[in-house]
C-alpha cells in the first residue's frame, strides 16, 4: 500500500513540489495538484450516539488520473464519504480538495458549481433520467459544465459513440435501452464535463461477475482516456483484482497512521 505526503507547507524550498514517501525511500516528483486530497476529515450524522464518527479519514489523496478502489462492508460510511467529496454533505471538520479547491469550504451554490464542472458520478442503478434520450441524459450533465451550449450535442454524440452506443440508440429513451447500454450512458454522463474526478458508488452491485468485470473495464478505460481520476467504492469481493490500487475503509480510517496534510502541516 502506498500513501502520499505533501510537504509543501513544511518548507518554502519545497514549495509546489510533491514528495512521495515510499517504503522508506524519499524522492521528488514534479509539481502536480492532486485530483482529490482529503485531510483530517470527520463527519457524524446529526443525532448519532457515541463518540466514533461515521466517517473519519486523516488523509487520502488521488493523483490526476489515478484509479483507486475503496472497499468495506455495507454501512461503513463509503457512500457517505462520496457525498462528502461531492459536497452534498458538510463535514464536521477537515478539508476535501478537488483539483486544489476545498469543496467543504465553499458555499452551497459554489459547491454545486464545482461538482458540475469537476466531478462525475456513477451509481449502481445508473440514475439516468427516464423520459429523456441517451444523448439528452449526457447533455443534462453538460448544462452544468463549462462547455458552450452549442457544443453540447456534438460532445454528447462523440462521447456516446466512443463508448460504443450507435446513433440509433443515442436518440432512444434510456428506459428503452438494455442494462449494458444504460451503463454506457451513465459512464458517458459522468465524463461529460471532462471531470477531474469520477466517483463510482457500487457500480457493479446489480451485475453478475462477467458483466461486473466488463463494467469496471469500461469505467476504468473511459476514465483513463479522459484522464479523470476514479474513486470507486464497493463491497464486491471480486473487484480488488480489477483495480491497480485498493484500500479498505478500515485502513484509511481514524486508526490509520498519522500523516502530513497538504494544508495542515504535520500531525
Amino acid at each position: 500500500m502506498r500513501r502520499y505526503f505533501d510537504l509543501r507547507r513544511a518548507s518554502a524550498l519545497y514549495a509546489g513540489t510533491r514528495v512521495e514517501a515510499f517504503v522508506g525511500g524519499v524522492y521528488y516528483t514534479p509539481a502536480v495538484t492532486d485530483a482529490l486530497s482529503i485531510c483530517d476529515l470527520t463527519f457524524r450524522f446529526p443525532g448519532t450516539p457515541g463518540e466514533t464518527p461515521t466517517v473519519g479519514i486523516p488523509a487520502l489523496s488521488l493523483a490526476p488520473g489515478e484509479q483507486l478502489l475503496l472497499t468495506g462492508p455495507s454501512g461503513c460510511g463509503k457512500s457517505t464519504l462520496l457525498s462528502l467529496i461531492a459536497g452534498l454533505l458538510t463535514a464536521d471538520a477537515g478539508t476535501i480538495s478537488i483539483a486544489g479547491e476545498n469543496i467543504q469550504a465553499l458555499g452551497s451554490a459554489a459547491r454545486d458549481r464545482l461538482r458540475g464542472r469537476r466531478i462525475g458520478m456513477v451509481f449502481q442503478t445508473f440514475n439516468l433520467l427516464h423520459g429523456f434520450t441517451a444523448a439528452e441524459n449526457v447533455m443534462l450533465a453538460l448544462m452544468f459544465s463549462d462547455l458552450q451550449p452549442r457544443a453540447h450535442r456534438e460532445r454528447a454524440t462523440q462521447l456516446l459513440s466512443t463508448l460504443g452506443l450507435d446513433q440509433a440508440h443515442q436518440t432512444r429513451r434510456v428506459d428503452r435501452l438494455s442494462v449494458g447500454q444504460q451503463q454506457r450512458v451513465a459512464v458517458a454522463r459522468a465524463l461529460a464535463c471532462s471531470p477531474t474526478l469520477v466517483l463510482a458508488d457500487e457500480p457493479t452491485a446489480s451485475l453478475d461477475p462477467d458483466n461486473a468485470a466488463a463494467a469496471v473495464g469500461l469505467l476504468r478505460s473511459a476514465c483513463s482516456s479522459a484522464n479523470a481520476a476514479l474513486l470507486c467504492v464497493s463491497h464486491d469481493p471480486a473487484l480488488p483484482a480489477l483495480f491497480p490500487r485498493h484500500v479498505s475503509m478500515q485502513e484509511i480510517g481514524p486508526g490509520a497512521a498519522s500523516t502530513v496534510c497538504a494544508d495542515g502541516g504535520a500531525r
Partner: protein, 424 residues
Amino acid sequence: MAMTDLAIVGRSLTSRWFATATTVLTVGVAVGLLLVLVSLRSAGEQAFARGTGNMHLLVSADSSPLNSVLNSVFYMGNPAAAKPLSAFAALRADPRVSWAIPVVQGDSFQGYPTLATTNEFFTSFEPARGSPWRFEQGAGFKNTFDVVLGAEAAAGTGLRVGDHLHLTHGTHDESGHAHEHDEFHFEISGILAPSATAHDRAIFTTTEATWLIHATDLRESARNPVAPTVQNLRDDEKVITGLYIRVKGRANTDAPPALQELYAELRKDGTITVAQPGSQVASLFKVVGGIDRIIFALAAAVLVSSSITIMLVLYQAMELRRRQVAVLRVLGASRFRVFMLALTEAAVIGIAASLLGVAVAFVGAHSVAFAVYQSIGLTISPSLDLRWVISIVAGATALACLAGIVPAAVAYRTDVLRSLRPIG
C-alpha cells in the same frame, strides 16, 4: 440543441400530460369564467347606459318608471297603456323643454319590434350620448307610410331601401297568429347605421301610419263607415305610449337646472309615469351589482381552488420525481435552480391556463351575449377589456406560482443521498 431548464420543465409536463391537461383545463375554465363575468358585466352596463342616449325624461302611462324605461327604450315588453297625444300639448309647449318626441310601441314585424315616431327621433334624439343617428342608406320619413329600419332589423329581414312590407298588429295575438294589416303598404325609406343599442332591432314608422292602422281596426269593430285618413283622425285615436323628453340646457349638461324642477312637477300628475332613464338604469345595476359581486366571489373562489389543484398535482409529481431532482443536484444543479424548475412548471401551467381562459372567455361571452339577445333582445357587445385580461392573466399566473412554492420547496429540500439509493 442543448438541454435547457425549459426543456426539462417541458418534458416533465408532457410526460404527465394527462395531469397537466386536466390542471390547465381546471384553471383555464376558472379564468374564463372570471373573464366572461367581467366582460359581460361591463358590456351589459354599457348596453343599458348607451340606450337611453341623450333623453332626460321618459313620460309614459306604464306602471312603474323602471318598467317604462325597459319597455320604451329597451323593447323588453309592450307598454301597458297609451294616452292621447293631445294630453301632452302643454308639456310639449313648455319653454323648458328642448324636444319631446312621441313614440308608439306594441307592433312587430317578423319578430322585430316597431316604434312609431317622428323624424325628430332621427334628428334630435341620440341613441348614445354624443353619437347621433347616421343613415347607412336612404333617409328619414318623407311620406306617411315610409319605414326606417334599425341596422339589425335590416340585416335580419334582408329588406333594402325601396322594398315594401306589411306590418302586423301586436307582437302576438291570443290565437298565436299575427293580425296582418294588408290594407297598408309600407315602403322602406332608410336604413340606420348600427348604434349598438336596442334600437338597432327596431322598425320605425310614422306615428300617423300607426294611428291609421289602429283607427281602421277600431272603426271596423265600431261599425263606423268613415275610413280613417290623416285629416279625420280624432284626438282619441292619436295615442302615444311614450314621450322622450330633453330639457333645455347647455349642450353637454346631463342635469340642467330645469330638469329636477320639471321632473318634480310631472311626478305630481298621477295619470302619467315619469322616469329619468339614466337613474333607472343605475338603480337597476345597483340591484344586479349585489348579485354579481357574489358571482365574482364565487368565480374567484373557483380560481383559488383550482390553484390548489395545481399545488396538489405538482406536489404529488414532485414526490415521484425526488430521484430526478436528486440526479440534477448531483450533476451540478443548485438547490435554487431545482426550486426554480418546479416553480417554472407551475408558472407554465398558469400561463397556459390563462391563455385557455381567454379563449374560453371569448367564446363564452359571445355565446352568452347571443343567448341574451335571443331571449330578451338586449344587444350587448362583450369586449375583453385589455386591462382586465392582463390583470386576470397575471393574477392567475401569480396564483399558480404561489401554488408552485410548496412543490418547489420539496425540490429544494430533496435529500440527494436518500433519493438516489436503490429502492429496497
